[in-house]
Amino acid sequence: MDKKLKETILNPILKGNPITVLVLGICSALAVTVQLKGALVMALSVIAVTGLSSLVCSLIRNTIPNRVRIIVQLVVVAMMVILVDQILKAGEGTYAIDKQLSVYIGLIITNCIVMGRIEAFALGNKPIPSLLDGLANGLGYGLILVVVAFFRELLGSGTLFGFQVLPAGYIPNNLVILPPFALILLGCIIWVHRAIDKDLQEK
Protein backbone atom coordinates (compact mmCIF):
# COMPACT_ATOMS: atom_id res chain seq x y z
CA MET A 1 0.00 0.00 0.00
CA ASP A 2 2.77 2.37 0.95
CA LYS A 3 4.54 1.79 -2.31
CA LYS A 4 1.31 2.27 -4.22
CA LEU A 5 0.66 5.56 -2.45
CA LYS A 6 4.13 6.78 -3.30
CA GLU A 7 3.50 5.83 -6.89
CA THR A 8 0.21 7.79 -6.82
CA ILE A 9 2.03 10.92 -5.75
CA LEU A 10 5.21 10.66 -7.83
CA ASN A 11 3.82 9.36 -11.10
CA PRO A 12 1.88 12.50 -12.09
CA ILE A 13 4.89 14.68 -11.35
CA LEU A 14 7.39 12.64 -13.36
CA LYS A 15 6.48 9.72 -15.63
CA GLY A 16 2.83 10.60 -16.01
CA ASN A 17 3.11 14.37 -15.99
CA PRO A 18 -0.20 15.78 -17.26
CA ILE A 19 1.44 18.38 -19.50
CA THR A 20 4.65 16.85 -20.81
CA VAL A 21 3.49 13.24 -21.09
CA LEU A 22 -0.30 13.26 -21.29
CA VAL A 23 -0.30 16.70 -23.02
CA LEU A 24 -3.40 17.87 -21.15
CA GLY A 25 -4.13 21.41 -20.03
CA ILE A 26 -2.01 22.97 -22.73
CA CYS A 27 -4.18 26.02 -23.46
CA SER A 28 -3.94 27.47 -19.99
CA ALA A 29 -0.24 26.62 -19.87
CA LEU A 30 0.23 28.87 -22.88
CA ALA A 31 -2.05 31.63 -21.71
CA VAL A 32 -1.05 32.30 -18.12
CA THR A 33 2.70 31.84 -18.23
CA VAL A 34 3.71 35.38 -19.16
CA GLN A 35 4.56 36.17 -15.55
CA LEU A 36 5.70 33.93 -12.71
CA LYS A 37 3.29 35.39 -10.18
CA GLY A 38 0.27 34.65 -12.35
CA ALA A 39 1.54 31.17 -13.18
CA LEU A 40 2.07 30.41 -9.49
CA VAL A 41 -1.43 31.49 -8.52
CA MET A 42 -2.84 29.53 -11.46
CA ALA A 43 -0.84 26.46 -10.39
CA LEU A 44 -2.10 26.70 -6.80
CA SER A 45 -5.67 27.18 -8.02
CA VAL A 46 -5.46 24.09 -10.22
CA ILE A 47 -3.91 22.05 -7.40
CA ALA A 48 -6.76 23.07 -5.10
CA VAL A 49 -9.41 22.28 -7.72
CA THR A 50 -8.00 18.91 -8.80
CA GLY A 51 -7.39 17.83 -5.21
CA LEU A 52 -10.75 18.84 -3.78
CA SER A 53 -12.79 17.71 -6.80
CA SER A 54 -11.18 14.29 -6.71
CA LEU A 55 -11.82 14.06 -2.97
CA VAL A 56 -15.49 14.99 -3.22
CA CYS A 57 -16.13 12.79 -6.24
CA SER A 58 -14.42 9.88 -4.51
CA LEU A 59 -16.54 10.39 -1.39
CA ILE A 60 -19.77 10.17 -3.38
CA ARG A 61 -18.48 7.68 -5.96
CA ASN A 62 -20.76 4.84 -4.87
CA THR A 63 -23.90 6.95 -4.97
CA ILE A 64 -23.44 8.56 -8.40
CA PRO A 65 -25.83 7.17 -11.03
CA ASN A 66 -23.62 5.88 -13.82
CA ARG A 67 -25.56 7.55 -16.64
CA VAL A 68 -25.12 11.07 -15.28
CA ARG A 69 -21.72 10.68 -13.68
CA ILE A 70 -20.00 13.16 -16.05
CA ILE A 71 -22.62 15.78 -15.25
CA VAL A 72 -22.24 15.24 -11.52
CA GLN A 73 -18.45 15.51 -11.84
CA LEU A 74 -18.86 18.67 -13.85
CA VAL A 75 -21.08 20.23 -11.19
CA VAL A 76 -18.54 19.41 -8.49
CA VAL A 77 -15.61 20.78 -10.53
CA ALA A 78 -17.55 23.91 -11.47
CA MET A 79 -18.34 24.56 -7.83
CA MET A 80 -14.68 24.26 -6.85
CA VAL A 81 -13.60 26.59 -9.65
CA ILE A 82 -16.17 29.21 -8.71
CA LEU A 83 -15.12 28.96 -5.06
CA VAL A 84 -11.45 29.48 -5.96
CA ASP A 85 -12.33 32.44 -8.19
CA GLN A 86 -14.53 34.03 -5.51
CA ILE A 87 -11.86 33.61 -2.84
CA LEU A 88 -9.17 35.11 -5.08
CA LYS A 89 -11.42 38.07 -5.85
CA ALA A 90 -12.12 38.66 -2.15
CA GLY A 91 -8.49 38.63 -0.98
CA GLU A 92 -6.90 42.07 -0.92
CA GLY A 93 -3.55 40.72 -2.11
CA THR A 94 -4.91 38.32 -4.74
CA TYR A 95 -7.47 40.61 -6.37
CA ALA A 96 -5.00 42.09 -8.84
CA ILE A 97 -3.73 38.65 -9.87
CA ASP A 98 -7.25 37.34 -10.32
CA LYS A 99 -7.92 40.30 -12.60
CA GLN A 100 -4.78 39.52 -14.55
CA LEU A 101 -5.68 35.84 -14.94
CA SER A 102 -9.21 36.93 -15.86
CA VAL A 103 -11.09 34.15 -17.64
CA TYR A 104 -8.41 31.52 -17.18
CA ILE A 105 -9.36 30.84 -13.58
CA GLY A 106 -12.92 30.14 -14.71
CA LEU A 107 -11.58 28.01 -17.54
CA ILE A 108 -9.93 25.60 -15.09
CA ILE A 109 -13.23 23.77 -15.37
CA THR A 110 -12.38 22.89 -18.97
CA ASN A 111 -8.92 21.69 -17.99
CA CYS A 112 -8.89 18.05 -19.01
CA ILE A 113 -6.63 17.13 -16.09
CA VAL A 114 -9.42 17.72 -13.57
CA MET A 115 -12.12 15.64 -15.23
CA GLY A 116 -9.56 13.15 -16.48
CA ARG A 117 -8.31 12.30 -13.01
CA ILE A 118 -11.80 12.05 -11.55
CA GLU A 119 -12.90 9.70 -14.32
CA ALA A 120 -9.70 7.65 -14.30
CA PHE A 121 -8.88 7.56 -10.60
CA ALA A 122 -11.27 9.12 -8.11
CA LEU A 123 -14.32 7.08 -9.16
CA GLY A 124 -12.49 3.84 -8.47
CA ASN A 125 -10.44 4.66 -5.39
CA LYS A 126 -10.85 5.64 -1.76
CA PRO A 127 -11.00 9.34 -0.80
CA ILE A 128 -7.46 9.77 0.59
CA PRO A 129 -5.58 8.30 -2.40
CA SER A 130 -7.95 10.26 -4.67
CA LEU A 131 -7.13 13.50 -2.89
CA LEU A 132 -3.41 12.77 -3.20
CA ASP A 133 -3.78 11.84 -6.85
CA GLY A 134 -5.60 15.09 -7.55
CA LEU A 135 -3.06 17.18 -5.66
CA ALA A 136 -0.13 15.43 -7.34
CA ASN A 137 -1.58 15.93 -10.81
CA GLY A 138 -2.16 19.59 -10.05
CA LEU A 139 1.41 19.78 -8.83
CA GLY A 140 2.76 18.14 -11.98
CA TYR A 141 0.83 20.66 -14.04
CA GLY A 142 1.91 23.55 -11.82
CA LEU A 143 5.59 22.65 -11.99
CA ILE A 144 5.65 22.88 -15.76
CA LEU A 145 3.67 26.11 -15.63
CA VAL A 146 6.20 27.68 -13.30
CA VAL A 147 9.16 26.51 -15.39
CA VAL A 148 7.62 27.94 -18.57
CA ALA A 149 6.72 31.20 -16.80
CA PHE A 150 10.24 31.49 -15.41
CA PHE A 151 11.78 31.60 -18.88
CA ARG A 152 9.02 33.72 -20.38
CA GLU A 153 9.18 36.40 -17.71
CA LEU A 154 12.97 36.39 -17.63
CA LEU A 155 13.42 36.72 -21.40
CA GLY A 156 10.18 38.57 -22.18
CA SER A 157 10.30 41.23 -19.49
CA GLY A 158 13.77 40.86 -17.95
CA THR A 159 12.13 40.38 -14.56
CA LEU A 160 11.29 37.59 -12.09
CA PHE A 161 8.23 38.05 -9.85
CA GLY A 162 8.19 41.64 -11.08
CA PHE A 163 11.72 42.41 -9.94
CA GLN A 164 14.28 43.50 -12.52
CA VAL A 165 16.81 40.68 -12.87
CA LEU A 166 18.50 41.22 -16.19
CA PRO A 167 20.52 44.45 -16.59
CA ALA A 168 18.54 47.52 -17.60
CA GLY A 169 20.11 47.46 -21.06
CA TYR A 170 18.35 44.19 -21.93
CA ILE A 171 15.76 44.66 -24.63
CA PRO A 172 12.80 42.40 -23.80
CA ASN A 173 12.09 39.82 -26.48
CA ASN A 174 8.51 40.35 -27.61
CA LEU A 175 8.23 36.90 -29.19
CA VAL A 176 8.69 35.33 -25.77
CA ILE A 177 5.61 37.10 -24.41
CA LEU A 178 3.37 35.85 -27.21
CA PRO A 179 1.70 32.41 -26.88
CA PRO A 180 3.61 30.70 -29.74
CA PHE A 181 6.82 30.88 -27.77
CA ALA A 182 5.20 29.07 -24.84
CA LEU A 183 4.48 26.22 -27.23
CA ILE A 184 8.11 26.19 -28.43
CA LEU A 185 9.31 26.24 -24.83
CA LEU A 186 6.90 23.46 -23.90
CA GLY A 187 8.25 21.41 -26.78
CA CYS A 188 11.77 21.89 -25.45
CA ILE A 189 10.68 20.82 -21.96
CA ILE A 190 9.05 17.67 -23.35
CA TRP A 191 12.24 17.00 -25.30
CA VAL A 192 14.41 17.33 -22.21
CA HIS A 193 12.00 15.21 -20.17
CA ARG A 194 12.04 12.41 -22.73
CA ALA A 195 15.80 12.58 -23.13
CA ILE A 196 16.25 12.07 -19.40
CA ASP A 197 13.54 9.45 -18.93
CA LYS A 198 14.28 6.66 -21.42
CA ASP A 199 11.01 4.86 -20.57
CA LEU A 200 9.08 7.60 -22.33
CA GLN A 201 10.78 7.03 -25.67
CA GLU A 202 9.06 4.88 -28.25
CA LYS A 203 11.09 1.86 -29.24
Binding site: R67, V68, L83, K89, A90, E92, A96, G156, L178
Partner: protein, 254 residues
Protein backbone atom coordinates in the same frame (compact mmCIF):
# COMPACT_ATOMS: atom_id res chain seq x y z
CA UNK B 1 -30.26 0.38 -3.96
CA UNK B 2 -30.44 0.56 -7.75
CA UNK B 3 -28.45 3.67 -8.56
CA UNK B 4 -29.35 3.40 -12.21
CA UNK B 5 -33.12 3.77 -11.94
CA UNK B 6 -34.69 6.86 -13.46
CA UNK B 7 -36.24 8.06 -10.21
CA UNK B 8 -32.95 7.77 -8.35
CA UNK B 9 -31.07 9.59 -11.10
CA UNK B 10 -33.49 12.51 -11.19
CA UNK B 11 -33.66 12.88 -7.43
CA UNK B 12 -29.89 12.54 -7.08
CA UNK B 13 -29.04 15.22 -9.64
CA UNK B 14 -31.66 17.55 -8.17
CA UNK B 15 -30.18 17.18 -4.70
CA UNK B 16 -26.61 17.68 -5.93
CA UNK B 17 -27.55 20.84 -7.79
CA UNK B 18 -29.46 22.27 -4.82
CA UNK B 19 -26.56 21.57 -2.44
CA UNK B 20 -24.01 23.13 -4.78
CA UNK B 21 -26.22 26.16 -5.41
CA UNK B 22 -26.67 26.65 -1.67
CA UNK B 23 -22.91 26.49 -1.04
CA UNK B 24 -22.17 28.96 -3.82
CA UNK B 25 -24.90 31.37 -2.76
CA UNK B 26 -23.65 31.30 0.81
CA UNK B 27 -20.02 31.91 -0.22
CA UNK B 28 -20.96 34.64 -2.67
CA UNK B 29 -22.96 36.50 -0.04
CA UNK B 30 -20.14 36.15 2.53
CA UNK B 31 -17.36 37.28 0.18
CA UNK B 32 -19.37 39.90 -1.72
CA UNK B 33 -18.50 42.88 0.51
CA UNK B 34 -14.75 42.09 0.40
CA UNK B 35 -14.88 41.78 -3.39
CA UNK B 36 -16.73 45.09 -3.74
CA UNK B 37 -14.19 46.78 -1.48
CA UNK B 38 -11.36 45.46 -3.67
CA UNK B 39 -13.07 46.64 -6.84
CA UNK B 40 -13.71 50.06 -5.36
CA UNK B 41 -10.12 50.46 -4.17
CA UNK B 42 -8.95 49.43 -7.63
CA UNK B 43 -11.06 52.15 -9.27
CA UNK B 44 -9.78 54.72 -6.78
CA UNK B 45 -6.18 53.71 -7.51
CA UNK B 46 -6.71 54.19 -11.21
CA UNK B 47 -8.42 57.55 -10.75
CA UNK B 48 -5.75 58.84 -8.39
CA UNK B 49 -3.02 57.60 -10.70
CA UNK B 50 -4.58 59.65 -13.52
CA UNK B 51 -4.96 62.69 -11.26
CA UNK B 52 -1.34 62.34 -10.16
CA UNK B 53 -2.17 62.16 -6.45
CA UNK B 54 0.70 59.71 -6.00
CA UNK B 55 2.93 57.64 -8.31
CA UNK B 56 1.15 54.58 -9.68
CA UNK B 57 3.57 52.13 -8.01
CA UNK B 58 2.87 53.58 -4.58
CA UNK B 59 -0.88 53.49 -5.17
CA UNK B 60 -0.67 49.82 -6.07
CA UNK B 61 1.53 49.07 -3.06
CA UNK B 62 -0.90 50.75 -0.66
CA UNK B 63 -3.54 48.87 1.30
CA UNK B 64 -7.24 49.38 0.54
CA UNK B 65 -7.81 51.36 3.75
CA UNK B 66 -4.98 53.75 2.90
CA UNK B 67 -6.42 54.22 -0.58
CA UNK B 68 -9.83 55.20 0.82
CA UNK B 69 -8.18 57.67 3.18
CA UNK B 70 -6.02 59.11 0.41
CA UNK B 71 -9.05 59.60 -1.81
CA UNK B 72 -11.04 61.25 0.95
CA UNK B 73 -8.12 63.58 1.65
CA UNK B 74 -7.66 64.60 -1.95
CA UNK B 75 -11.13 64.76 -3.41
CA UNK B 76 -13.04 68.04 -3.48
CA UNK B 77 -16.41 66.92 -4.83
CA UNK B 78 -17.96 64.37 -7.13
CA UNK B 79 -21.16 64.56 -9.10
CA UNK B 80 -22.85 63.09 -12.13
CA UNK B 81 -24.00 64.81 -15.29
CA UNK B 82 -26.33 63.91 -18.15
CA UNK B 83 -25.57 64.14 -21.85
CA UNK B 84 -26.56 67.83 -21.90
CA UNK B 85 -23.82 68.53 -19.40
CA UNK B 86 -26.35 69.28 -16.65
CA UNK B 87 -25.68 68.04 -13.14
CA UNK B 88 -28.11 65.26 -12.22
CA UNK B 89 -26.72 63.82 -9.04
CA UNK B 90 -24.17 64.07 -6.24
CA UNK B 91 -21.68 61.38 -5.25
CA UNK B 92 -20.65 61.21 -1.62
CA UNK B 93 -16.92 61.63 -1.04
CA UNK B 94 -16.80 61.13 2.74
CA UNK B 95 -14.38 58.37 3.70
CA UNK B 96 -16.94 55.97 5.14
CA UNK B 97 -19.35 56.28 2.26
CA UNK B 98 -17.42 56.84 -0.94
CA UNK B 99 -19.74 56.65 -3.92
CA UNK B 100 -18.53 55.92 -7.44
CA UNK B 101 -20.10 55.19 -10.77
CA UNK B 102 -18.13 51.97 -11.07
CA UNK B 103 -20.22 50.20 -13.70
CA UNK B 104 -19.19 51.91 -16.90
CA UNK B 105 -20.78 49.51 -19.38
CA UNK B 106 -24.39 50.64 -18.79
CA UNK B 107 -23.25 54.26 -19.08
CA UNK B 108 -21.48 53.44 -22.33
CA UNK B 109 -24.71 51.97 -23.64
CA UNK B 110 -26.63 55.03 -22.49
CA UNK B 111 -24.21 57.32 -24.31
CA UNK B 112 -24.50 55.33 -27.54
CA UNK B 113 -28.30 55.23 -27.27
CA UNK B 114 -28.35 58.91 -26.28
CA UNK B 115 -30.45 57.89 -23.29
CA UNK B 116 -30.37 58.82 -19.62
CA UNK B 117 -26.74 58.73 -18.64
CA UNK B 118 -25.27 59.48 -15.23
CA UNK B 119 -21.68 60.30 -16.09
CA UNK B 120 -19.40 60.89 -13.13
CA UNK B 121 -17.08 63.87 -12.74
CA UNK B 122 -14.61 63.69 -9.86
CA UNK B 123 -13.10 67.05 -8.93
CA UNK B 124 -9.85 66.70 -6.99
CA UNK B 125 -8.40 69.41 -4.77
CA UNK B 126 -6.60 71.89 -6.96
CA UNK B 127 -9.33 71.66 -9.57
CA UNK B 128 -8.33 68.61 -11.60
CA UNK B 129 -11.39 66.84 -13.01
CA UNK B 130 -11.26 63.08 -13.56
CA UNK B 131 -13.64 61.34 -15.94
CA UNK B 132 -13.86 57.70 -17.00
CA UNK B 133 -13.77 56.31 -20.53
CA UNK B 134 -14.93 52.87 -21.65
CA UNK B 135 -15.05 50.92 -24.88
CA UNK B 136 -14.25 47.70 -26.68
CA UNK B 137 -10.67 46.57 -27.20
CA UNK B 138 -9.71 43.53 -29.23
CA UNK B 139 -10.64 40.73 -26.81
CA UNK B 140 -12.67 42.50 -24.19
CA UNK B 141 -13.48 45.88 -22.69
CA UNK B 142 -10.88 48.61 -22.27
CA UNK B 143 -11.42 51.52 -19.94
CA UNK B 144 -9.53 54.27 -18.25
CA UNK B 145 -9.56 57.54 -16.36
CA UNK B 146 -8.56 60.90 -17.79
CA UNK B 147 -7.66 63.82 -15.53
CA UNK B 148 -8.12 67.36 -16.84
CA UNK B 149 -6.35 70.46 -15.61
CA UNK B 150 -8.68 73.15 -14.19
CA UNK B 151 -8.85 74.77 -17.65
CA UNK B 152 -11.03 71.85 -18.76
CA UNK B 153 -9.19 70.90 -21.90
CA UNK B 154 -5.57 70.13 -21.06
CA UNK B 155 -5.00 66.51 -20.00
CA UNK B 156 -3.17 66.26 -16.68
CA UNK B 157 -2.81 62.49 -16.66
CA UNK B 158 -4.40 59.25 -17.71
CA UNK B 159 -4.66 55.63 -16.66
CA UNK B 160 -5.85 52.77 -18.83
CA UNK B 161 -6.85 49.24 -18.04
CA UNK B 162 -8.26 46.30 -19.93
CA UNK B 163 -9.76 42.91 -19.29
CA UNK B 164 -7.92 40.63 -21.69
CA UNK B 165 -5.81 42.44 -24.29
CA UNK B 166 -2.82 40.55 -25.67
CA UNK B 167 0.18 40.60 -23.33
CA UNK B 168 3.10 42.42 -24.93
CA UNK B 169 0.87 44.12 -27.49
CA UNK B 170 -2.50 45.58 -26.52
CA UNK B 171 -1.74 45.12 -22.83
CA UNK B 172 0.82 47.90 -23.18
CA UNK B 173 -1.94 50.45 -22.60
CA UNK B 174 -1.73 49.40 -18.97
CA UNK B 175 1.69 47.78 -18.58
CA UNK B 176 3.85 50.44 -20.18
CA UNK B 177 3.96 53.69 -18.20
CA UNK B 178 5.29 55.59 -21.23
CA UNK B 179 1.97 55.17 -22.98
CA UNK B 180 -0.21 56.79 -20.35
CA UNK B 181 2.48 59.37 -19.59
CA UNK B 182 2.27 60.61 -23.17
CA UNK B 183 -1.22 61.94 -22.47
CA UNK B 184 -0.09 64.49 -19.90
CA UNK B 185 0.10 67.93 -21.49
CA UNK B 186 -1.99 66.94 -24.51
CA UNK B 187 -5.30 68.70 -25.04
CA UNK B 188 -8.81 67.69 -25.97
CA UNK B 189 -10.11 70.10 -28.60
CA UNK B 190 -13.81 70.12 -27.78
CA UNK B 191 -14.75 72.00 -30.95
CA UNK B 192 -13.03 69.54 -33.28
CA UNK B 193 -14.28 66.19 -34.56
CA UNK B 194 -12.74 63.97 -33.38
CA UNK B 195 -11.79 65.82 -30.26
CA UNK B 196 -8.77 63.58 -29.74
CA UNK B 197 -6.82 61.31 -32.05
CA UNK B 198 -4.98 58.13 -31.10
CA UNK B 199 -3.85 57.08 -34.54
CA UNK B 200 -0.93 55.86 -36.58
CA UNK B 201 1.66 58.63 -37.10
CA UNK B 202 -0.66 61.17 -35.48
CA UNK B 203 2.12 62.89 -33.54
CA UNK B 204 4.16 63.75 -36.63
CA UNK B 205 1.81 66.60 -37.58
CA UNK B 206 2.41 68.18 -34.17
CA UNK B 207 -1.25 68.59 -33.23
CA UNK B 208 -1.74 69.06 -29.47
CA UNK B 209 -4.60 66.55 -29.38
CA UNK B 210 -2.90 63.64 -31.12
CA UNK B 211 -0.98 60.58 -29.90
CA UNK B 212 0.56 57.75 -31.89
CA UNK B 213 -1.21 54.42 -31.79
CA UNK B 214 0.75 51.46 -30.40
CA UNK B 215 2.64 49.40 -32.97
CA UNK B 216 1.36 45.83 -33.08
CA UNK B 217 -1.76 46.76 -31.16
CA UNK B 218 -3.87 48.19 -33.96
CA UNK B 219 -7.22 46.93 -32.73
CA UNK B 220 -6.63 47.86 -29.10
CA UNK B 221 -5.52 51.35 -30.17
CA UNK B 222 -8.56 51.72 -32.40
CA UNK B 223 -10.84 50.60 -29.60
CA UNK B 224 -9.22 52.97 -27.15
CA UNK B 225 -9.44 55.83 -29.65
CA UNK B 226 -13.12 55.09 -30.07
CA UNK B 227 -13.63 54.84 -26.30
CA UNK B 228 -11.90 58.20 -25.77
CA UNK B 229 -13.90 60.00 -28.42
CA UNK B 230 -17.28 58.51 -27.54
CA UNK B 231 -16.85 59.54 -23.93
CA UNK B 232 -15.27 62.91 -24.72
CA UNK B 233 -18.29 63.62 -26.92
CA UNK B 234 -20.56 62.78 -23.99
CA UNK B 235 -18.69 65.19 -21.72
CA UNK B 236 -18.26 67.84 -24.42
CA UNK B 237 -21.14 70.06 -23.28
CA UNK B 238 -19.97 69.92 -19.68
CA UNK B 239 -16.38 70.89 -20.36
CA UNK B 240 -16.97 73.17 -23.33
CA UNK B 241 -19.50 75.14 -21.25
CA UNK B 242 -17.03 75.37 -18.39
CA UNK B 243 -14.29 76.59 -20.72
CA UNK B 244 -16.49 79.25 -22.33
CA UNK B 245 -17.61 80.48 -18.89
CA UNK B 246 -14.00 80.96 -17.96
CA UNK B 247 -13.26 82.92 -21.11
CA UNK B 248 -16.23 85.23 -20.56
CA UNK B 249 -15.10 85.90 -17.01
CA UNK B 250 -11.61 86.64 -18.27
CA UNK B 251 -13.00 88.92 -20.95
CA UNK B 252 -14.99 90.87 -18.39
CA UNK B 253 -11.96 91.26 -16.20
CA UNK B 254 -9.98 92.61 -19.07
Amino acid sequence: MNTNSNVYTVIYTAIVVVIVAAILAFVASKLGPAQDANAKAETLRQMMSAAGVKPTDELYAAKNAEILQLYADNIEEAYTIDLDGEKNGELSVSKDKIELVSKLKPQHKAILAEGDATLPVYIFKGGKAVIPIYGAGLWGPVWGYIAFEPDGHTIAGAFFDHESETPGLGAKIKDEPWFREKFAGKTVEWSETPAFRLEKNAEAAGAPNAIDAITGATMTSKGLNEALNVWFKAYEKHFAAGASEETTINAEEE
